[in-house]
Amino acid sequence: MMTTPLAVDELEQLREESRRLALEAGLDPWEVVFGVVDYDELNEVSSYDGFPERYPHWHFGMAYDYFRKRGAYSGWWTYELVLNTKPAIAYLRSSNTRLETKGVMVHVYGHVDFFKHNRWFSKTNRDMIKLMKNHAERIENHMNRYGMSKVEAFIDCAMSIQYNIDPHAPFIKGRGQESRVKRHRVNPEASQSLLAEAGKIPVKRDYMDRYINPKNWVSERREKMMSERTENQSQDITELKRPQKDMLHFLVKHGRLEDWQRDILSMIREESYYFVPQIQTKVMNEGWASYWQSKIMADYADSNEFLDHAEMMSRVLGGGISNPYRLGLMIWENIKERWDKGRFGRDWELCKDREERKRWDTGAGLGEEKIFEVRRNYNDITFIDEFFTEDLFEKHNLFTYEYIPETGAYHITSREFEDVKKKLLLRYTNLGKPTIQVSTGNYDNKGELLLLHQWNGIGLNWDEAKGVLQRVYEMWKRPVNLKTIVYRKLRDPDPSRNRIQPELPLTAVQEEQGVLLRYDGETFRELALSDEEIADIRTDDIRYSTTPEEWIG
């Protein structure tokens, strides 16, 4: 298909049209500014996550190299890229056909509607272009002053822990977004009046105050707060009351860093907080945009166009459920259908008769309402947890697999819904990464850093963990410790079972062993920990292994 580049007025006409379609369908997006760029420019834009000004770093160059080669050798390319800003900015590929452009624009409006209304984006900075530009300038200044390679090397270190933040922090009052350390002094008068308010529950109407904040109760609370405060002050400030997930925050505050390093670390943290909602809602967001694209295009494209559109969709939606576009779209369509047909609530859950379930249609017609509610309140984990149902699972012939060291291969371990869902959720829980917390910066009273790996039965990639510790050491400058658990082999599988059940991939009996991995700037040491010492990192969460018990021992 040969295409000529779209003229500006034609583009504008397409924009008008797709915007109208999106609004008519019930979406409520911000204004979108569309830029048409050629294939190579889109690769550039993608490498910088869409931002025109980012700080200089080789990893953007690596991303570009990757996008370019992927396009050239695997034929896989990007159709669009949308920025979560207000107004939103979207880049389209100039070689898209007229129809593709229309479809992609609708898709974009889907994303922007999601950015605007999904709860998890409510705290993101919508003026990020400016902030990114500001970051770029600050980092360039540091580079001019302290040397390119020195600064770049520090960014390398920081990137190792760039997502060791607390995605929930922006939603908890008093924590989160303050990214630079506040150094200003509070003036005494203000602090007096602050003190008067301390311990009170804020009230909107003054006359309610004495009911909501009875005097004795307030003074009791105030005393408790004060005593806690003095208690805190008497301790080393790096000793935390409870472990903290936001390692970046901790290091910005307490790391032994030069000012420029502290500045860079705080910027990287800020950028991570901006990107995290996008990672947390990828399945939903891509599914949402694809859902509206296919719905709107199916309703409005003429049949000739529709075929091209269908082909484009089939290209984007290829692959199994590990393709977030596909997984998301599938779930959205299912929710719509279920709530349209009244397939929810107690009666539906209790109904076990297959035939009856298949025919079930109360004519509820609540689908549209439901999906808009879901797009407001959910993120990928809650979305999948609640709406990836057994019915959806049954359509896909899914299984879980585990690695068996004895055979050196991955084996199919289960075809149960619960197991598959568990593994699916694992991929999206905590961005698909292990949970690491800072416990204290004064471990063993020696000013050493102690990190905790909240253990859910899956061990760490050991070499990488060591690499991270080395980099964290660069920011802490004192020994760095990581408390975790590894598996230790107790005994090999019984060889006689091998003869009786040769079809089973038998595996060794293992035991969980607590380990303290310590890096002192020169060497690594691994110290065994007792069961009591690891009590604080053993979570009661579900265990993710699906290896059948009869394979063990």
Binding site: G61, K69, N397, I412, K433, G459, Y544, W551
Partner: protein, 388 residues
């Protein structure tokens, strides 16, 4: 107003140009630096030569890896789709799967290198001179550039998917006379493509001037040449091939195996076959000469014969038969003639090499002794260092 905004967005994108160039440059410098540093190891390990990619190879690069706290993939397991009994092994090591819209992330520890880039690095590191090709010739390109579509053509070039698409298009257009019902949920439609739906891949022949080269690989296949020695030869050939390929738009390859007799074989066989017989090198040289005469006229082709053996030869064969063929036939016609003596752990010249050096003082004859993997790099430099 929206038009102005759109133009503004395009401008923003254009601003990235400068930036990306610098970032790519630094990334490449890191990658190239590490490859250059480890070139010897990369060559000796055979990691690259083992890959079958036509355009790119994957090379592990340590310095671009950003370590992160991640699960051990062996502990984490995963989900797959498809048939299979419990306990059945899953074929390949399952990766992350297809993830549209996602960059390489920080997982990346392997970088895809274009062979062209790799050859450049090789050239820089070994300070190889560029080759000046001789003899330009015009070639009619009818080959693999099927960028056009035609309505007629041979069966083998029928685009089946496209045919069904055209058929479906025709089908729906016929029905749209009365507007398709419920388009969003299709009932299955039976679509049968007819002649007018068929489309064929098509390529316009074009005439391109170009320099062509032929590499003629010869190898002693007798029993003493198997195993590690063959592996070394495979490595040598990979890098020689890579370098020559960057200088000629068309490179053909001929593989000749010999023991007492010589025969032309396919690439796979060249490295796999071994025979039990004795060794008579002149048989290979003779066949090589014949092939050149018949298929590769010297005025149109740049000819690069390479011969590898362990240095043993039939008594009297080198001086009485090989030398005359080389002197009268092969050397005058070739750009150069490379002989590699592969003798594990021994660096002294064998009889064949001694006699060649004794009887031929032609700078087109290049010899190299490879006593182990650690000699490969040096040997490549010897073979390619003349820039012929």
């Amino acid at each position: 107003m929206a038009g102005a905004l759109a133009a503004q967005a395009e401008l923003l994108a254009r601003n990235m140009r400068k930036r990306i160039r610098k970032d790519v440059e630094r990334f490449k410098r890191i990658v190239r630096g590490e490859i250059r540093q480890n070139l010897k190891d990369l060559i000796e390990s055979g990691e690259i030569a083992g890959q079958r990619g036509r355009d790119v190879v994957k090379i592990p690069i340590k310095s671009i890896k950003t370590p992160e706290f991640r699960y051990d993939p062996r502990d984490a397991g995963g989900i797959g789709a498809g048939d299979g009994e419990l306990g059945e092994p899953v074929s390949a090591e399952p990766g992350e799967g297809f993830q549209p819209g996602q960059g390489p992330g920080s997982h990346a520890r392997e970088v895809e290198i274009e062979l062209r880039e790799l050859a450049e690095i090789l050239g820089e590191e070994l300070q190889l001179p560029k080759i000046e090709p001789k003899g330009q010739k015009n070639r009619v390109e009818s080959g693999d550039d099927f960028s056009d579509v035609a309505t007629t053509g041979p069966e083998a070039l029928l685009m089946k998917r496209r045919a069904f698409r055209e058929a479906l298009r025709r089908h729906t257009q016929m029905e749209t006379q009365h507007r398709l019902p419920a388009k969003y949920h299709f009932d299955p439609v039976v679509v049968v493509p007819i002649k007018q739906d068929f489309r064929y891949l098509h390529s316009e022949p074009s005439i391109i001037p170009e320099a062509s080269a032929v590499i003629i690989y010869m190898r002693d296949a007798s029993g003493s040449m198997s195993g590690e020695k063959t592996e070394i030869i495979r490595q040598e050939n990979y890098w020689i091939d890579l370098w020559l390929r960057t200088h000629y738009s068309q490179v053909e390859r001929v593989y000749i195996l010999h023991d007492y007799e010589a025969q032309e074989v396919k690439e796979d066989e060249f490295y796999e076959l071994s025979t039990g017989g004795g060794t008579r090198i002149s048989a290979a040289y003779e066949l090589c000469s014949k092939i050149i005469e018949r298929r590769y006229p010297a005025d149109q082709w740049n000819i690069y014969p390479f011969h590898f053996s362990d240095g043993e030869n039939w008594i009297g064969d080198t001086e009485n038969y090989c030398v005359p063929i080389l002197r009268d036939q092969l050397l005058p016609k070739s750009n150069q003639f490379g002989y590699g003596q592969v003798t594990l752990g021994r660096r002294s010249a064998g009889l064949h090499l001694l006699k060649l050096q004794e009887n031929l003082q032609d700078e087109k004859l290049i010899t190299s002794i490879i006593s182990g993997r650690e000699d490969i790099l040096g040997s490549i430099k010897e073979f390619l260092g003349k820039g012929r």
